[in-house]
Protein backbone atom coordinates (compact mmCIF):
# COMPACT_ATOMS: atom_id res chain seq x y z
CA UNK A 1 0.00 0.00 0.00
CA UNK A 2 1.41 3.39 -0.89
CA UNK A 3 0.74 6.72 0.77
CA UNK A 4 0.37 10.05 -0.97
CA UNK A 5 -0.45 13.41 0.51
CA UNK A 6 -4.01 14.73 0.63
CA UNK A 7 -3.54 18.49 0.56
CA UNK A 8 -7.21 19.27 0.08
CA UNK A 9 -8.33 17.90 3.42
CA UNK A 10 -5.25 17.88 5.62
CA UNK A 11 -6.01 21.49 6.53
CA UNK A 12 -8.94 20.14 8.52
CA UNK A 13 -6.65 18.48 11.09
CA UNK A 14 -7.29 20.24 14.38
CA UNK A 15 -10.71 21.52 13.42
CA UNK A 16 -13.02 21.29 16.41
CA UNK A 17 -16.53 19.92 16.22
CA UNK A 18 -19.27 22.26 17.43
CA UNK A 19 -19.82 19.94 20.39
CA UNK A 20 -22.88 19.58 22.53
CA UNK A 21 -24.29 17.24 25.11
CA UNK A 22 -25.78 13.79 25.33
CA UNK A 23 -28.04 12.09 27.86
CA UNK A 24 -27.85 8.32 28.23
CA UNK A 25 -31.60 7.85 28.28
CA UNK A 26 -32.74 4.55 29.76
CA UNK A 27 -34.73 3.64 26.64
CA UNK A 28 -31.70 4.22 24.46
CA UNK A 29 -29.46 2.13 26.72
CA UNK A 30 -32.10 -0.61 26.59
CA UNK A 31 -32.26 -0.62 22.79
CA UNK A 32 -28.50 -0.53 22.36
CA UNK A 33 -28.09 -3.58 24.60
CA UNK A 34 -30.90 -5.32 22.75
CA UNK A 35 -29.32 -4.73 19.34
CA UNK A 36 -26.21 -6.42 20.73
CA UNK A 37 -28.20 -9.35 22.15
CA UNK A 38 -26.93 -8.28 25.57
CA UNK A 39 -28.89 -7.72 28.79
CA UNK A 40 -31.08 -4.60 28.37
CA UNK A 41 -31.80 -4.54 32.12
CA UNK A 42 -28.18 -4.17 33.22
CA UNK A 43 -27.86 -1.06 35.42
CA UNK A 44 -24.62 -0.03 33.69
CA UNK A 45 -24.98 1.18 30.08
CA UNK A 46 -23.17 -0.83 27.45
CA UNK A 47 -19.64 0.54 26.86
CA UNK A 48 -20.30 1.08 23.16
CA UNK A 49 -22.51 3.97 24.27
CA UNK A 50 -19.38 6.00 25.00
CA UNK A 51 -18.70 6.33 21.29
CA UNK A 52 -22.40 6.66 20.47
CA UNK A 53 -22.72 9.50 22.98
CA UNK A 54 -19.73 11.19 21.42
CA UNK A 55 -20.99 11.13 17.86
CA UNK A 56 -24.53 12.05 18.88
CA UNK A 57 -23.26 15.03 20.84
CA UNK A 58 -20.50 16.24 18.54
CA UNK A 59 -22.77 18.85 17.00
CA UNK A 60 -22.61 17.56 13.42
CA UNK A 61 -24.71 15.09 11.50
CA UNK A 62 -22.94 12.29 9.69
CA UNK A 63 -23.80 13.93 6.39
CA UNK A 64 -22.22 17.20 7.57
CA UNK A 65 -19.08 15.41 8.73
CA UNK A 66 -18.80 13.48 5.46
CA UNK A 67 -19.26 16.75 3.55
CA UNK A 68 -16.20 18.25 5.30
CA UNK A 69 -14.25 15.66 3.30
CA UNK A 70 -16.15 15.99 0.04
CA UNK A 71 -17.90 12.68 0.60
CA UNK A 72 -21.39 11.40 1.21
CA UNK A 73 -23.02 8.37 2.78
CA UNK A 74 -23.57 6.87 -0.66
CA UNK A 75 -19.79 6.60 -1.14
CA UNK A 76 -19.83 3.78 1.43
CA UNK A 77 -17.53 5.14 4.16
CA UNK A 78 -16.55 2.52 6.74
CA UNK A 79 -14.76 2.29 10.08
CA UNK A 80 -10.98 1.92 10.11
CA UNK A 81 -9.80 1.83 13.71
CA UNK A 82 -11.35 2.56 17.07
CA UNK A 83 -10.16 3.17 20.60
CA UNK A 84 -12.19 3.89 23.72
CA UNK A 85 -10.70 4.81 27.09
CA UNK A 86 -13.21 4.85 29.93
CA UNK A 87 -12.00 6.81 32.94
CA UNK A 88 -15.29 6.12 34.74
CA UNK A 89 -18.29 3.93 33.91
CA UNK A 90 -21.19 5.50 32.04
CA UNK A 91 -24.41 6.04 33.96
CA UNK A 92 -27.99 5.79 32.85
CA UNK A 93 -29.69 9.18 32.98
CA UNK A 94 -26.39 11.06 33.09
CA UNK A 95 -25.79 14.12 30.91
CA UNK A 96 -22.38 14.36 29.23
CA UNK A 97 -20.69 17.34 27.63
CA UNK A 98 -19.16 16.37 24.28
CA UNK A 99 -16.18 17.91 22.53
CA UNK A 100 -14.21 16.57 19.59
CA UNK A 101 -11.90 17.29 16.74
CA UNK A 102 -10.28 15.98 13.58
CA UNK A 103 -6.86 14.57 14.44
CA UNK A 104 -5.55 13.11 11.18
CA UNK A 105 -6.17 12.91 7.44
CA UNK A 106 -4.21 10.54 5.27
CA UNK A 107 -4.60 9.49 1.64
CA UNK A 108 -3.60 5.94 0.79
CA UNK A 109 -3.68 3.67 -2.23
CA UNK A 110 -3.90 -0.09 -2.04
CA UNK A 111 -3.84 -2.72 -4.76
CA UNK A 112 -7.24 -4.11 -3.84
CA UNK A 113 -8.92 -1.14 -2.17
CA UNK A 114 -7.80 1.51 -4.63
CA UNK A 115 -7.47 5.09 -3.41
CA UNK A 116 -9.03 6.07 -0.09
CA UNK A 117 -8.73 8.69 2.63
CA UNK A 118 -8.42 7.75 6.30
CA UNK A 119 -9.81 10.46 8.59
CA UNK A 120 -9.18 10.22 12.33
CA UNK A 121 -11.22 12.05 14.93
CA UNK A 122 -11.49 11.97 18.70
CA UNK A 123 -14.36 12.67 21.04
CA UNK A 124 -14.30 13.50 24.76
CA UNK A 125 -17.08 13.04 27.28
CA UNK A 126 -17.09 15.13 30.43
CA UNK A 127 -19.56 15.10 33.32
CA UNK A 128 -19.48 17.86 35.94
CA UNK A 129 -16.00 18.70 34.69
CA UNK A 130 -14.72 15.14 35.11
CA UNK A 131 -13.22 13.49 32.03
CA UNK A 132 -15.25 10.30 31.66
CA UNK A 133 -14.17 8.94 28.28
CA UNK A 134 -12.19 9.56 25.12
CA UNK A 135 -12.94 7.77 21.87
CA UNK A 136 -10.76 7.77 18.79
CA UNK A 137 -12.15 6.56 15.52
CA UNK A 138 -11.09 6.60 11.91
CA UNK A 139 -13.34 6.63 8.87
CA UNK A 140 -12.22 5.25 5.54
CA UNK A 141 -13.58 7.20 2.57
CA UNK A 142 -13.31 5.34 -0.75
CA UNK A 143 -12.07 7.68 -3.51
CA UNK A 144 -13.14 5.80 -6.59
CA UNK A 145 -12.81 8.95 -8.70
CA UNK A 146 -9.11 9.17 -7.79
CA UNK A 147 -8.35 5.54 -8.68
Amino acid sequence: MSEVSSPDHSALVGREFPGGEYVVESWRAWLVADTLLDDPYDEVPHPVLAWMAGVAGMGLTWDELFAWFGASASDGPVFGEHETALHAPLEIGARYDVTGRIVSVERKTGRRAGTFDVVGYELDLHRHGEHVARCYNSIVFPRREAA
Binding site: V32, D34, V48, E81, H82, E83
Partner: protein, 145 residues
Protein backbone atom coordinates in the same frame (compact mmCIF):
# COMPACT_ATOMS: atom_id res chain seq x y z
CA UNK B 1 -16.10 -14.99 36.30
CA UNK B 2 -12.36 -14.78 36.64
CA UNK B 3 -11.37 -16.85 39.66
CA UNK B 4 -7.93 -17.84 38.36
CA UNK B 5 -6.83 -15.35 35.77
CA UNK B 6 -3.34 -15.72 34.44
CA UNK B 7 -1.41 -14.91 31.31
CA UNK B 8 -2.69 -17.27 28.66
CA UNK B 9 -6.20 -17.55 30.08
CA UNK B 10 -8.71 -17.87 27.25
CA UNK B 11 -11.98 -15.98 27.67
CA UNK B 12 -15.24 -17.81 26.98
CA UNK B 13 -16.34 -17.62 23.36
CA UNK B 14 -19.36 -15.43 22.60
CA UNK B 15 -21.28 -16.19 19.42
CA UNK B 16 -23.87 -13.90 17.81
CA UNK B 17 -26.13 -14.28 14.78
CA UNK B 18 -26.18 -10.98 12.84
CA UNK B 19 -29.81 -10.07 12.39
CA UNK B 20 -30.56 -7.37 9.76
CA UNK B 21 -33.51 -6.17 11.86
CA UNK B 22 -31.19 -5.23 14.69
CA UNK B 23 -28.94 -3.44 12.22
CA UNK B 24 -31.89 -1.26 11.23
CA UNK B 25 -32.53 -0.39 14.88
CA UNK B 26 -28.87 0.58 15.24
CA UNK B 27 -29.09 2.68 12.07
CA UNK B 28 -31.92 4.63 13.68
CA UNK B 29 -30.13 4.93 17.04
CA UNK B 30 -27.03 6.29 15.30
CA UNK B 31 -28.97 8.45 12.83
CA UNK B 32 -26.56 6.88 10.34
CA UNK B 33 -27.52 7.62 6.73
CA UNK B 34 -25.01 5.17 5.24
CA UNK B 35 -27.19 2.93 3.03
CA UNK B 36 -24.85 -0.09 3.08
CA UNK B 37 -26.38 -0.92 6.48
CA UNK B 38 -29.96 -1.25 5.28
CA UNK B 39 -30.49 -0.62 1.54
CA UNK B 40 -29.80 -3.70 -0.58
CA UNK B 41 -30.33 -1.77 -3.82
CA UNK B 42 -27.63 0.70 -2.82
CA UNK B 43 -25.26 -2.18 -2.05
CA UNK B 44 -25.71 -3.60 -5.52
CA UNK B 45 -25.13 -0.17 -7.05
CA UNK B 46 -21.81 -0.01 -5.17
CA UNK B 47 -20.85 -3.42 -6.56
CA UNK B 48 -21.07 -5.05 -3.14
CA UNK B 49 -22.75 -8.19 -1.81
CA UNK B 50 -26.43 -7.36 -1.46
CA UNK B 51 -26.48 -8.42 2.18
CA UNK B 52 -26.31 -5.30 4.40
CA UNK B 53 -23.03 -4.58 6.17
CA UNK B 54 -23.16 -4.75 9.95
CA UNK B 55 -22.32 -1.48 11.72
CA UNK B 56 -18.84 -1.14 13.20
CA UNK B 57 -20.24 -0.30 16.66
CA UNK B 58 -22.19 -3.56 16.70
CA UNK B 59 -19.08 -5.56 15.90
CA UNK B 60 -17.21 -3.68 18.63
CA UNK B 61 -20.09 -4.23 21.01
CA UNK B 62 -20.00 -8.03 20.67
CA UNK B 63 -16.39 -8.01 21.88
CA UNK B 64 -17.19 -5.56 24.68
CA UNK B 65 -20.08 -7.76 25.81
CA UNK B 66 -17.78 -10.76 25.96
CA UNK B 67 -15.20 -8.81 27.99
CA UNK B 68 -17.78 -7.41 30.41
CA UNK B 69 -19.37 -10.79 31.06
CA UNK B 70 -16.02 -12.38 31.74
CA UNK B 71 -14.76 -9.54 33.95
CA UNK B 72 -17.95 -9.38 36.00
CA UNK B 73 -19.55 -6.18 34.75
CA UNK B 74 -19.63 -3.49 32.09
CA UNK B 75 -17.97 -1.09 34.54
CA UNK B 76 -14.80 -3.22 34.46
CA UNK B 77 -13.86 -2.37 30.88
CA UNK B 78 -11.15 0.32 30.92
CA UNK B 79 -9.77 0.52 27.40
CA UNK B 80 -10.70 -1.05 24.09
CA UNK B 81 -8.79 -0.79 20.80
CA UNK B 82 -9.69 -2.48 17.54
CA UNK B 83 -8.82 -2.41 13.87
CA UNK B 84 -11.54 -3.22 11.38
CA UNK B 85 -10.23 -5.95 9.09
CA UNK B 86 -13.28 -7.08 7.17
CA UNK B 87 -17.02 -6.79 6.83
CA UNK B 88 -19.67 -8.69 8.74
CA UNK B 89 -22.83 -9.18 6.70
CA UNK B 90 -26.47 -9.75 7.59
CA UNK B 91 -27.03 -13.45 8.17
CA UNK B 92 -23.45 -14.11 9.29
CA UNK B 93 -22.64 -15.64 12.64
CA UNK B 94 -19.68 -14.09 14.43
CA UNK B 95 -17.54 -15.57 17.18
CA UNK B 96 -15.33 -13.75 19.67
CA UNK B 97 -11.89 -14.87 20.76
CA UNK B 98 -9.80 -13.35 23.54
CA UNK B 99 -6.79 -14.27 25.61
CA UNK B 100 -5.03 -12.62 28.53
CA UNK B 101 -1.58 -11.49 27.42
CA UNK B 102 -0.48 -9.47 30.45
CA UNK B 103 -1.48 -8.69 34.05
CA UNK B 104 -0.74 -5.20 35.31
CA UNK B 105 -1.07 -3.39 38.62
CA UNK B 106 -2.53 0.07 38.07
CA UNK B 107 -4.01 2.82 40.21
CA UNK B 108 -7.43 1.41 39.33
CA UNK B 109 -6.56 -2.13 40.38
CA UNK B 110 -5.28 -5.27 38.75
CA UNK B 111 -5.81 -5.21 35.02
CA UNK B 112 -5.83 -8.01 32.48
CA UNK B 113 -4.71 -6.95 29.03
CA UNK B 114 -6.38 -9.14 26.43
CA UNK B 115 -5.84 -9.85 22.77
CA UNK B 116 -9.13 -9.75 20.88
CA UNK B 117 -10.48 -11.10 17.64
CA UNK B 118 -13.91 -11.24 16.06
CA UNK B 119 -14.29 -13.84 13.31
CA UNK B 120 -17.09 -14.59 10.90
CA UNK B 121 -17.91 -18.27 11.28
CA UNK B 122 -16.84 -19.88 8.02
CA UNK B 123 -15.29 -16.60 6.89
CA UNK B 124 -12.53 -14.17 7.71
CA UNK B 125 -11.50 -12.00 10.63
CA UNK B 126 -13.57 -8.86 11.11
CA UNK B 127 -11.80 -7.16 14.04
CA UNK B 128 -8.54 -7.52 15.91
CA UNK B 129 -7.37 -5.55 18.90
CA UNK B 130 -6.64 -5.36 22.60
CA UNK B 131 -8.54 -4.38 25.73
CA UNK B 132 -7.81 -3.73 29.41
CA UNK B 133 -10.28 -4.99 32.01
CA UNK B 134 -10.22 -4.98 35.79
CA UNK B 135 -9.80 -8.40 37.39
CA UNK B 136 -9.68 -9.57 41.04
CA UNK B 137 -6.56 -8.79 43.00
CA UNK B 138 -5.86 -12.48 43.53
CA UNK B 139 -5.00 -12.74 39.85
CA UNK B 140 -1.22 -13.28 39.82
CA UNK B 141 0.79 -10.56 38.14
CA UNK B 142 2.98 -12.07 35.43
CA UNK B 143 4.71 -10.85 32.37
CA UNK B 144 3.87 -12.44 29.07
CA UNK B 145 6.34 -15.21 28.21
Amino acid sequence: MTTSVQVGTELPVHEVFVDPGRMKVMTALLADPTPIHFDTRALVALGMDERPVNQGPLNMGYLQTMLARWAGGRDRLLTFRVRFQGNVLAGDTVRTHARVIELLDTDRGRVARCDLRLDVVGGGTALTGTADVLVPLDAPKEEIA
